[in-house]
Amino acid sequence: MEKFKVLVVDDEDDFRETIVKRLRGRHLDTTGVASGEEALKAMEQESFDVVVLDVRMPGMDGIEALKEMKKRWPLTEVIMLTGHASVESGIQGMQLGAFDYVMKPVPLDELLDKMRQAYERKRIQEGKF
């Protein structure tokens, strides 16, 4: 599988640390941060291909972070993760340009599949620009 850079944004430490570890195990260049603010800071430092973003976080929530990310890095694809299904925020997220909206818990292989597709989409878009 082709390598790409992933940023995982989730305030639940256990969840984030585990998923970062497992994605690294699949040879993905993965970084984990605990908040929307930190995510934006990380993205200023280096470029990421795919962001996995929790919807509900203290401080800047996922939707706010998504808005900011798509404004500043429109080509980076964002997969929203949610623990509680909220149709409202799902619609909002898709409208703001999220690549997908996924319910937790999601099997790693399924998530990986979505991440690959998101990355492929980014590559297609970059070819266009």
Partner: protein, 313 residues
Amino acid sequence: MWPSLPLGAGRGWLPWLAPTLTLLAGLCLWEGGYRFFSVAAVALSALGCAGVRALCVRLAQAENARQLLDERLLTTQKLAALGELAAGISHEINNPLAIIRQEAEWLRELLSGARFQDPAQLLEFRESLQEIILAVERAREVTGKVLELARERQPVIQKLDLNRLLEDMARLVEHEARRKNIRMERRFAPDLPPVESDGPLLRQAVLNLLTNAYQAMEDGGTITLTSSWAGPDHVKIAIRDTGVGIPPEMLDKIFLPFFTTKPPGTGTGLGLAITQTIIHRLGGTISVASQPKHGTTFTIVLPLSWEPQEQKG
């Protein structure tokens, strides 16, 4: 529009031919479709009566289809012009809205250091500011959707597993639907090939329709989500609810921007307009059938392989 022609099989049909041809030609001219006349005349001379009847049926169908297309094109053009206007206005309104919001937030900050003789006044001040900010957010939701409607977002085409996509969106809605005693039924064709389409756009469209479906059901019901073949190179998605249904006189308006049956402030009336725009952009069609008190079905037909459209919108 076309008369059933007195063309019985067997002998004796020849004498009918001349008057029939004249009648046919007259009708064609009258319909303004005189280009059909030459085709019809040539074909008539070459074909037997069964062929003539079949031809007439085909011609009538073609004429109907053409009229439908003309109407659709006109509606599309009208909507495109309206959309452009609305987008222009939205854009202009967004700037002052941003200023109002920023100033309101600044006032809120100033307020933390302010002193009032009557503390109740401070509270009222705060609540008032909060109302302003909320109202600005609501306005921005509308302008955002209008801009979304007008934005020419070129689809990014990838091979999609349609059933997977439908299942994902169903799961999102199912959780919330269950609380309203709504069941989600899946009928996915197992043999669908990958569909060339834009995942995020299609997800948005399906999610919009699923939301509408569960909002249409007040005290429980069933949403049936179906995927199937539609001819050799198309697939069909159907979303059926057992809700209140749509009155027949409203059916042809529901895709129009700002048309809503929801109480003011709860819906922008742009969901279905956006959904239709998306589906057209994906090279597909969307249609609706409804029976008041029994429910509504939205049907999307998508091509298996996507080709860029010449026509915008």
